[in-house]
Symmetry: D2
Subunit: 329 residues, 4 copies
Amino acid sequence: MDIAMIGLGRMGAGLSRRLMASGHTPFVFDRNQSAIDALASEGARPLADLKDVTQLTPPRAVWVMLPHGEATESTIRALADILSPGDCIIDGGNSYYKDDVARRAFLEPKDIAYLDVGVSGGIWGEREGFCMMIGGPNEEVSRLDPIFAALAPGIGDLPETPGRDGRDPRPAQGYMHCGPAGSGHFVKMIHNGIEYGLMQAYAEGFDILRNAGTAARPEDERFDLDCADIAEVWRRGSVIRSWLLDLSASALAKDQALESFRGHVADSGEARWTLEAAVEEEVSAATIASALFARYRSRRESTFSDKLLSALRAEFGGHIEGGSKSERA
Amino acid sequence: MDIAMIGLGRMGAGLSRRLMASGHTPFVFDRNQSAIDALASEGARPLADLKDVTQLTPPRAVWVMLPHGEATESTIRALADILSPGDCIIDGGNSYYKDDVARRAFLEPKDIAYLDVGVSGGIWGEREGFCMMIGGPNEEVSRLDPIFAALAPGIGDLPETPGRDGRDPRPAQGYMHCGPAGSGHFVKMIHNGIEYGLMQAYAEGFDILRNAGTAARPEDERFDLDCADIAEVWRRGSVIRSWLLDLSASALAKDQALESFRGHVADSGEARWTLEAAVEEEVSAATIASALFARYRSRRESTFSDKLLSALRAEFGGHIEGGSKSERA
Amino acid sequence: MDIAMIGLGRMGAGLSRRLMASGHTPFVFDRNQSAIDALASEGARPLADLKDVTQLTPPRAVWVMLPHGEATESTIRALADILSPGDCIIDGGNSYYKDDVARRAFLEPKDIAYLDVGVSGGIWGEREGFCMMIGGPNEEVSRLDPIFAALAPGIGDLPETPGRDGRDPRPAQGYMHCGPAGSGHFVKMIHNGIEYGLMQAYAEGFDILRNAGTAARPEDERFDLDCADIAEVWRRGSVIRSWLLDLSASALAKDQALESFRGHVADSGEARWTLEAAVEEEVSAATIASALFARYRSRRESTFSDKLLSALRAEFGGHIEGGSKSERA
Amino acid sequence: MDIAMIGLGRMGAGLSRRLMASGHTPFVFDRNQSAIDALASEGARPLADLKDVTQLTPPRAVWVMLPHGEATESTIRALADILSPGDCIIDGGNSYYKDDVARRAFLEPKDIAYLDVGVSGGIWGEREGFCMMIGGPNEEVSRLDPIFAALAPGIGDLPETPGRDGRDPRPAQGYMHCGPAGSGHFVKMIHNGIEYGLMQAYAEGFDILRNAGTAARPEDERFDLDCADIAEVWRRGSVIRSWLLDLSASALAKDQALESFRGHVADSGEARWTLEAAVEEEVSAATIASALFARYRSRRESTFSDKLLSALRAEFGGHIEGGSKSERA
């Protein structure tokens, strides 16, 4: 089954390599020739131009793995002109699910199928497999099953979930057909929203542990705790064991004070959209909102909000907070 | 009616002056002789030593107006030895209400009455009157009514609240007998907890207004707004008009960018206790908690929490966030 | 100066009456004839049909005061066909500011001016005046100044804000030209977002006061507090005095237990948009988000979220939470 | 090495059985004779009375596994009179860490060692091993190492954390000496605080997924998602895989609608104390606070807070919210 991978960054290269490891030979393309050459040297089939996706045997499958927004959008528009009826475009990036809905409407009259695939696994996916949440027409999802099966982690050595007899076997392999166009990225968006909440919960907990020796507390209630060991011990048998905890243990083992990090944390969009979806559905997402706002705050030296609080304290109480005396490290 | 004011800081001096303005002649004492002299020069009766409160005609009333914690506690302990059965100690500071409960238990066997009075009004109280929330025995609250009436704002020109006929007239004068020992400071504590929430709501709103011109939004949706004028216009007829808004308008008229403030915001304890009370009562106080945590965050350059988020992003996605490129002013 | 009021609900009728009280004679129109008749009997000039706004002397000013969304949008589209170059449409409802930006773009080629006016004051505005936040071209805002001045509360007996000498005098009268199209509703939207935060802060505080007698606390720390009196006492001299507190005092004086309310709280859109703006600007609005989510939660008997928590507790700890034993009133 | 287990509930019985499976023969005691008999029939040595712990060969180790609070406290007080210098009391329950500090001070003069052990693993620990966080003197922790090693999960098949060479090997076995008395329960408390945050993040995410088909959204953006399959697919390769997700998949596979749960969620204390510690340390714990408050809210039909919001909306806007019309399932 022919497939082309457009975009050979960390994720696109990883997907291509995992396909090759399963016996597939993807066509590969990137704006950056050296990225193409690297994959070609490992056995992939290089494309000199996006237009050359016509080399694939129809019905063609073209997997776009680019930053969401303009890069993805313009590539899909270009592919719509290049491809033929019966072909299929797969967006494996982190697109906004409402864009998927619009794209399906745009591609349907051209009889080009559109799949949106939310992919989780980060830089580890090449080795461990990618978790995939797929939106689009049933027929195409079935046709491309060998591709998804090759990319997915498979059952692995995880204990089977009781009560799944008779259910769709694909989720237990690590990929899932969620519903029509947009549903794949919708589920991936919520996945990332949850990720923000989980990360923030660990972060707050370790912050409290890290500051447990503070002089603000009675002397015999102060503890000088080893966060690296705590992360490690929780990995085994605790209720909060997780892959993110494994990564925390790894980061803290390298540098318990995390001194190489400045603490300005980026956000990549999904938590914003999760919040938007929660608002539209009238569902409370207080924890996820809180996690997103913590990242916003992390990127500011100070805020107008905080300054107004100080200004008000000066107005009603005569408290002066322009200086730095009360600051703690 | 004889009363002594112990502690002549901003609040103690203001209370003394308002008493004098109503024809009372308080005895005054402070560790700082110049504070005593200043009040004495305006007509107050100076005390050379705490012990000299015995000069008051029994039953004596001694109002302690000191920082909560050690200063207040040790002064009340000392007064317990100096005063006589039938006398009364009033704590007008921001004490923790559980300390009031303990003090009543300590003073009861000595037949010394104890009143806890939460006082709001800040540096404006001397002119406008102090809002007082009083805990303690009914008899003492009644006996000291002339003092409370003199300190309170009175009815003023506020419209009367409909439906209060037949109710206790004191709240409409600006003072209230809340219940037994501790209840005055409990009500004042909640007052301050609410204050944190209100301040934070205004602060967040003005922060969004202040940043409404950000390049992150489509060009024709960017606004360069005058926050000083906005605060002013909201003072008249809007649903969110309030005294804190008056103060916001005042602060913003002086300096719309609030550049003299660094944005490190102190907290003085009551919001912490409010949170504790909410937890004990199993009542959600998410907004007040959020306001308190914003102040904690304002005092840190960076947090271990944020650094762990960056560390995790590096672990799972290869994102490097040690640098400063993504920073916004 | 001729003006027509389209929509004679609570707000439209109040605006019309306040205009008449200042000597203006507005034209009035509503889908509901009896609403027109009522205003006409008080001196307004009735319009039999929307098309009859052509009766106004040009340049015409037509104030649309309808529910935001479809009702407002279709009326403005219709007016665009009825009115002539040089006329002006004013949207006084709670429109989404991005809709204003689109409307200006739509009306500009027709040379019809567009003003968006955020109006605060609710059912009290007719008597006390309406606080207005105005977006649109400077020329039109100036031309309509007599209308805005008549509707606004005026300076009233509020103390003047120090430091405003030489500033635009209109905000101190209760109306403000915020900027171009959309800016009026943007400022009103933030006003409402703040309102949500303020209301929630009071609500949480009174909830803690109301439950201060809970048996979950030590017996001598339980208080049976009178929330009506507390709201009343805070009105005088306290830091948290406000119009919303006046209303709280009024509501609690009528019924201290608020038993006539079920506690299902609606939200009308502005807090959602405030949150969206905060997200777009990368400004933390944790308190306002929390207030919005509390309203969502108030409208549900139970949530899937809560059920999953119970399910997880059953899975890892064998805790059974299907029953009702632990419920508190 | 002799050890007695006091308290044979779910956790105490599980610990005893895991000890027996490793070749230990614990003494066992419970108020409930049948609990003793059950364990005795499996090989444990029954104690007829708490006083009979003197049958253990000194230095004795007595593990108390009871509900925190009065049950644990009175048992430890009783043991302090029964045991001899050189013996050791272990509190394996979920005690408040400040109680541990007090207990150490109480037991030290009697030369009885005190260990506080936070134990995670729930009903699964017997089979998979218990994760243990230990506070107390180094000497005792070393002496009891065979007990801890037997109870812990061991390294298992988890990948080793890079960078741990030369570090204490015990955390990688699933137990850790955290520091002096109280530190074990402090770390366990934070563990549980994080657990609340993690659970709430998953819960919010699944709530949004569950409601993705709501009519409040445009028709082509509505999705009817299978939450059981989503939980399952995320188990494999996704960034948010975790043991709590395994349990979510299991619960949802049984009943995707979670209809057997009412959604009244208990909290057991640790999140409250985590919040208290965060407040004392001046560290933001907004996410954990939010998770705790969501549980409080889940247990109420309605709140005074919500009623006040409705009352205010009636006061300023004439909105009536006593009825049930706007309710959603």
